[in-house]
């Protein structure tokens, strides 16, 4: 049995999956003042009377960190930056206290100017005086050589509660994003720690022997203990849950569009040969671009509860939502009212919905039914247009080799997978607007929780070997070790997979050997004065996001 819980801003869904089918489903309102209480309530209800020994995993997707950031309920953070030469670092000072330190590392990981101990000591004193307990230490090119970040930490007093070192978050280059990610990681650490403790307690009280996992924005999971070092990775995992849910409900091997149609928004994602696309950089949260790896997802302000207006004979839908549908006591006409008027949906007060569409129809010179039809058609067309624009952008992403320019791999969706409550009702309009088959899996309404339940652990790491300098660096693991001048690509790949395996075993108990893969490998000769002086080897290895496909057709719900 698999347990999945997806906490959304409004609702929390929990599902129990048994023998490939969803055997239980519990939906409750998310209590923004008590996330832990919400999760406990949902799990208690879901697991009531269940033989807990049969539960193989519990996966949770939570908005706790996202919410802490959005509402500003975060801990003050002291930021110690080593920007070196380059851009003006002034806009990166997002901490409550910020220190720009001397010292620099270059693109090859060579220290080009030293740290100044007095500056660090001074920062330490000021942080202590201000009572700041959470720090983030980030240097430019620290992923190429973490020694300065580590040295800064060692020069500080020992009594801080939580310190994020930039190089441990991601091997990707992007100093501003590394700064913001490290800042956020330290800012939510305390909130997250109390959440994690409460969940662990709950699981223990229940007598469960399994370790709960937390869903990440990349569609994978990690154990609750691993997540405490990197709470920032749990932000914005909701869209990933729905994408993984769609994949569990409807595994495909083609290029496809995934639509999650909700009340306020429609979230759009894409599959390339059945594999979800990633955000090229990382997600952005409240204006902070981060290095948090995430599945690509675009939120369009168009959903079942979007307000419908007419202005000079032109119809507009969204992007704002003023409340529920007219039929459910809301203030304006919505697509939901159009569905009710056309008899496709049976909720609320039908006369209220019809009255709204009659008024709208009068402004447009249409009958209420025609007006309702036009609203749904326009909604589908706007979604399809947005998808096409996104695809154009994705297909036009820069590439850096001749081979890639010539191959020009383009994503051409062959089908649309639509989930979310209004999805089955809008399918005919979507099919017309996309000119593609639209599949609405059963259980589309609880896809997010299914996605959470069936997602598997993911992780990645970066390995850089510089044979001229004779060093190998794996930033995410904090490894920097000597290598001989003869070190080659094959050795580097082998080492990367070994390290990935041990990293993976820390995330989960059961390693699926065949899921470890090298996703990038590059070797550049380094030449000095017309002689090759060494090799610059760059490798990325990952365990890619994947789901256990759901077999049943969902009649059990």
């Amino acid at each position: 049995m698999f347990v999945g819980l997806d906490m959304g801003g409004t609702h929390t869904d929990a599902v129990l999956i048994e023998k490939g089918r969803v055997s239980r489903h519990y939906k409750t309102v998310t209590d923004a003042a008590d996330f832990v209480g919400t999760i406990r309530r949902a799990l208690e209800a879901l697991l009531a009377g269940i033989n807990l020994d049969a539960v193989r995993s519990i996966n949770l997707s939570t908005t706790i960190c996202t919410n802490a950031v959005i509402t500003g309920r975060t801990s003050p953070v002291g930021l110690l930056l080593e920007p070196g030469p380059g851009m003006n670092p002034a806009v990166l000072t997002c901490g409550q206290k910020n220190f720009i330190l001397s010292g620099s590392i270059d693109h090859r990981g060579r220290p080009t100017s030293p740290l100044v101990e007095a500056e660090i000591k001074n920062a330490d004193r000021e942080l202590q005086r201000a009572g700041i307990r959470h720090l983030a230490i980030v240097g430019k090119f620290s992923t190429r050589n973490p020694e300065h970040e580590v040295a800064i930490k060692e020069a500080l007093s020992v009594e801080y509660d939580f310190i994020t070192l930039g190089h441990r978050l991601s091997g990707r280059l992007n100093f501003p994003r590394r700064v913001f990610t490290a800042y956020l990681n330290s800012a939510v650490a305390a909130t997250y720690r109390s959440f994690a403790a409460a969940i662990t307690d709950f699981v223990m009280q229940k007598g469960l022997t399994i370790a709960p996992h937390i869903l990440k924005a990349d569609g994978g999971t990690m154990t609750i203990e691993a997540s405490q070092e990197r709470p920032v990775e749990t932000i914005l995992s909701g869209p990933a849950a729905s994408i993984m849910g769609a994949l569990a409900l409807m595994p495909v091997e083609q290029d496809a569009v995934i639509l999650d149609i909700g009340g306020t928004t429609t979230d759009i994602a894409f599959l390339a040969g059945g594999v979800p696309l990633f955000e090229p950089q990382g997600i952005t949260l409240t204006g902070f671009p981060t290095l948090v790896r995430a599945l690509f997802s675009h939120s369009l302000g168009l959903g079942g509860d979007s307000c419908v207006n007419s202005k000079e004979g032109r119809l507009t839908i969204g992007p704002e939502r003023r409340g529920p549908a007219l039929a459910l006591g809301g203030p304006t006409v919505t697509p939901t009212d159009a569905l009710i008027t056309l008899g496709r949906l049976d909720v609320g007060d039908k006369t209220l919905a019809r009255r709204g569409l009659t008024k709208l129809g009068d402004e447009l010179g249409l009958s209420p039914e025609s007006a309702a039809t036009v609203v749904l058609r326009q909604m589908a067309e706007e979604i399809a247009r947005c998808c096409r624009t996104l695809l154009d952008k994705i297909n036009d992403r820069p590439v850096y080799t001749v081979r890639e320019v010539l191959e020009g791999r383009q994503i051409k969706p062959a089908q649309v997978i639509a989930i979310g409550a209004p999805a089955p009702l809008l399918a005919p309009e979507l099919e017309k607007a996309f000119a593609l088959p639209v599949i609405v899996p059963d259980l589309a309404g609880v896809a997010n929780a299914v996605g959470a339940a069936l997602s598997r652990p993911t992780t990645e790491l970066t390995l850089l070997a510089d044979t001229e300098e004779g060093v190998l660096t794996v930033p995410e693991e904090g490894i920097r070790e000597r290598i001989p001048g003869s070190y080659n690509l094959e050795q580097a790949k082998k080492r990367a997979l070994e390290l990935l395996r041990s990293r993976y075993t820390r995330l989960t108990r059961e390693v699926e050997e065949d899921k470890l893969e090298i996703i990038e490998e590059q070797v550049f000769n380094m030449v000095s004065g017309f002689y090759t002086t060494g090799k610059n080897i760059r490798i990325k290895a990952q365990v890619k996001p994947r789901v256990i496909p759901l077999k049943g057709d969902g009649d059990h719900v």
Partner: protein, 437 residues
């Protein structure tokens, strides 16, 4: 977060899978560390900075500029077409108004490629700026264009291509040809008879520092641009004036490049040379991008920068001051000087030897130009190589008058493959076609 005050388009094409040869300076990792620096600075996240994907230039885009012997595809690799296509993508972003400025950081470079192409010269096979410029004129209307070539080597290819074009002002600032490849680019190379004065060379002495470059900009280049009033300014952005460059002898720095671009504000910059791939390129490219975007570049500095490394001697300073004065005066008197140059000649010929260093091939050219007061004038080149190749290439300019165009076609008709056994080529820019036989 950062926000650019001018919208910038970047085409970044490092061609990580292409090199002239494994230890050649123009090789795979030439832009690797630039890419590292650009990514690490988060430049692509800046609001107003947009990265574009390069496309392949078409064979017709190359033929609009070059006569490749025997044809385009025997001379170029895909990487050349992508570098040219990348420059076109950058330029179109500006012309379409999607961005205010664009920078094509592509390789391989192109400014040593001349009108006739028998092979590669100075790491260049086709002239990516010229292909870009003629593409723009074909698709966006004829523009007055100034090319400011800041590569340390004289852009003899660009000079050759625009030698007869009064609508294209070519200004090159480079290390004196007596001390560096390709050994050209002197004051007396002033343009063809119908475009006399529209080719300006500022050969700077070795060890010219930041001060000298900026002096030449302020006291010669900018005043000439003020007179010429171009619709577009293109920077052939060679970065080999850097004090760490292994194949040149200048003392320019990333700060200097950034300040130069801040003042010049080219609409489009296209990367040319620059082979200090670790010590210079990452910093110079970031400096140029920031300067073009109107962002603060004062923190951009090489790890080993110090003022002594970029200082120049008073002798150099005095020399440059005289050079700038002389060049500017010549530019002012260009019409007068043209009359003296032409006197009453109907056509003007010159003989040249062109060396293709990559293949070790020597070409002998005899070029003839009709003196014309109505257009850039018909010209034709009789070209022989020391490998025995012999071709005739005829060039009808974009704005050709009826007489020059007719004479060009007549010459093509008259010339036979028996005389020119490796081909007769007619580049008719009016018809936008290359005829061959």
């Amino acid at each position: 977060m950062y926000k650019a005050s001018r919208r910038i388009g970047l085409v970044f094409f490092p061609a990580f899978d292409w090199a002239i040869s494994p230890t050649h300076p123009e090789r795979e990792e030439r832009l690797l560390y630039t890419q590292d620096q650009v990514l690490e600075e988060g430049i692509l996240d800046i609001e107003g900075i947009r990265e574009y994907r390069p496309h392949l230039a078409a064979v017709a885009d190359v033929e609009r500029v070059h006569v490749c012997v025997p044809d385009v595809m025997s001379r170029v690799t895909e990487s050349h077409l992508i570098a040219a296509g990348g420059a076109i993508v950058a330029a179109e972003a500006v012309l379409k108004g999607e961005v205010d400025r664009a920078f094509a950081i592509v390789r391989p470079p192109g400014h040593h490629a001349m009108r006739i192409v028998h092979g590669a010269r100075g790491f260049c096979t086709i002239n990516i700026e010229a292909i870009m410029i003629e593409y723009l004129r074909r698709h966006y209307g004829n523009k007055r264009i100034a090319i400011v070539d800041t590569d340390c080597h004289h852009g003899d290819g660009s000079q050759d291509i625009y030698w007869h074009d009064p609508d294209t002002l070519y200004i090159s600032i480079h290390q004196d040809g007596r001390t560096l490849y390709p050994g050209t680019g002197f004051l007396n190379e002033f343009g063809g008879p119908n475009a006399f004065g529209y080719n300006l060379n500022l050969p700077l002495p070795p060890e010219t520092g930041e001060e000298g470059f900026l002096y030449a900009l302020e006291h010669c280049i900018l005043p000439v641009l003020d007179d010429f009033k171009p619709d577009l300014i293109i920077n052939s952005a060679g970065q080999d004036n850097h004090y760490t460059d292994p194949i040149t002898n200048m003392r320019f720095s990333a700060q200097g490049y950034a300040r130069l671009n801040d003042r010049l504000q080219p609409h489009i910059a296209v990367l040319e040379g620059g082979y200090s791939i670790e010590g210079a390129l990452p910093y110079v490219n970031v400096g140029i991008i920031l300067a073009m975007a109107g962002l603060d570049y004062t923190y951009v500095r090489e790890p080993d920068y110090n003022p002594a490394r970029v200082a120049q001697s008073p002798k150099v300073r005095d020399y440059i001051a005289r050079l700038c004065e002389e060049t500017y005066q010549a530019w002012r008197r260009r019409d007068e000087l043209r009359e003296e140059f032409i006197r009453d000649q109907k056509e003007i010929s010159r003989r040249r030897q062109i060396y293709y260093d990559t293949e070790g091939l020597l070409e002998n050219q005899e070029e003839t130009t009709l003196v014309c007061h109505a257009c850039g004038g018909l010209s034709w080149i009789d070209s022989r190589t020391d490998r025995g190749s012999h071709v005739l290439a005829i060039f009808i300019p974009r704005d050709a008058c009826p007489r020059c165009r007719e004479e060009g076609h007549n010459l093509f008709e008259r010339s036979s493959r028996q005389t020119y056994r490796d081909g007769v080529f007619l580049q008719d820019r009016v018809a936008d076609r290359l005829f061959t036989k």
